[in-house]
Symmetry: C2
């Protein structure tokens, strides 16, 4: 495990890699979780305000999360997230788009009551191949500290 709470610093930008969006995956995700016509039916989507098939916003969040895990979290002391302060779907995501994810550290704060962990406040973005931001989130993540790494399960979550 290489990334602990101690390793984050305000202003740090972490590039998380990219993913290509396919029509098949847009439809698969939406059939299970968001079966609105403009997410599952390319023909009906042409007559929608979006002018064609677009990904469910939750699918875009999920694709972001996968890049975040592969690009950083899997090799970190992450202990989850209490949530987001803001989530914006800023532009439609369409089949063939190539989305790149970026994580910017806004603030780091060690817990006063649970000294073995700290909170990282971040801005997350997904940009398409034209450099357009399609998803923007601001939120907080909890990370274990380096000095807690040798203590098994040191954090009380209750």
């Amino acid at each position: 495990m290489t990334k602990y709470f101690d390793d984050f610093s305000a202003g740090e930008v972490i590039e998380l890699g990219s993913v290509e969006v396919t029509e098949r995956e847009i439809i698969e995700f939406a059939r299970e979780f968001d079966p609105q016509s403009f997410h599952v039916d390319p023909t009906a989507a042409k007559d929608s305000p979006f002018g064609g098939l677009i990904a469910s916003g939750w699918h875009t969040c999920a694709m972001y999360m996968r890049l975040m895990v592969d690009g950083m979290l899997a090799d970190s002391s992450s202990q989850g997230s209490p949530g987001m302060e803001e989530l914006r779907w800023l532009a439609p995501v369409r089949p063939g788009d190539m989305l790149a994810a970026r994580y910017t550290v806004l603030e780091v704060k060690r817990s006063a009551t649970k000294p073995h962990r700290g909170t990282v406040t971040f801005r997350s973005e997904m940009l398409n191949q034209d450099g357009e931001v399609v998803l923007r989130m601001m939120g907080r993540g909890l990370y274990g500290t380096r000095d807690a790494a040798d203590v098994p399960n040191p954090v009380e979550t209750s």
Copy 2:
């Protein structure tokens, strides 16, 4: 189509039905989108701060969305959502949980510049079988107005 912008009123509460969470689905979703050990590996999850397997927060959002589509959106003039002001994962979601979704209308506002649509500000919640709120979101949804229903594709989204 039965639910237009005009049909929403502040204070209205819409019950959206419920869904049972299975271990198989938690692991399937997380393997694809959020492969952190406490989402995909029941054994490793026991030693995590969560004490057992929990659903990815994005999976909980996606399950909410499915209930929202089936319980309301599919039969509405929905034109998508610009995003959320707040998203909170308030309690872990575990295999066997039964989650019920609820949509509360906070405010309705017809667009000044695009009179054929309006914005509904809402609070969304998922509650488990113990009545505990596991997910809370505040956001905005766009809906076409009833008088636009006869006009094909009346909304410019650019």
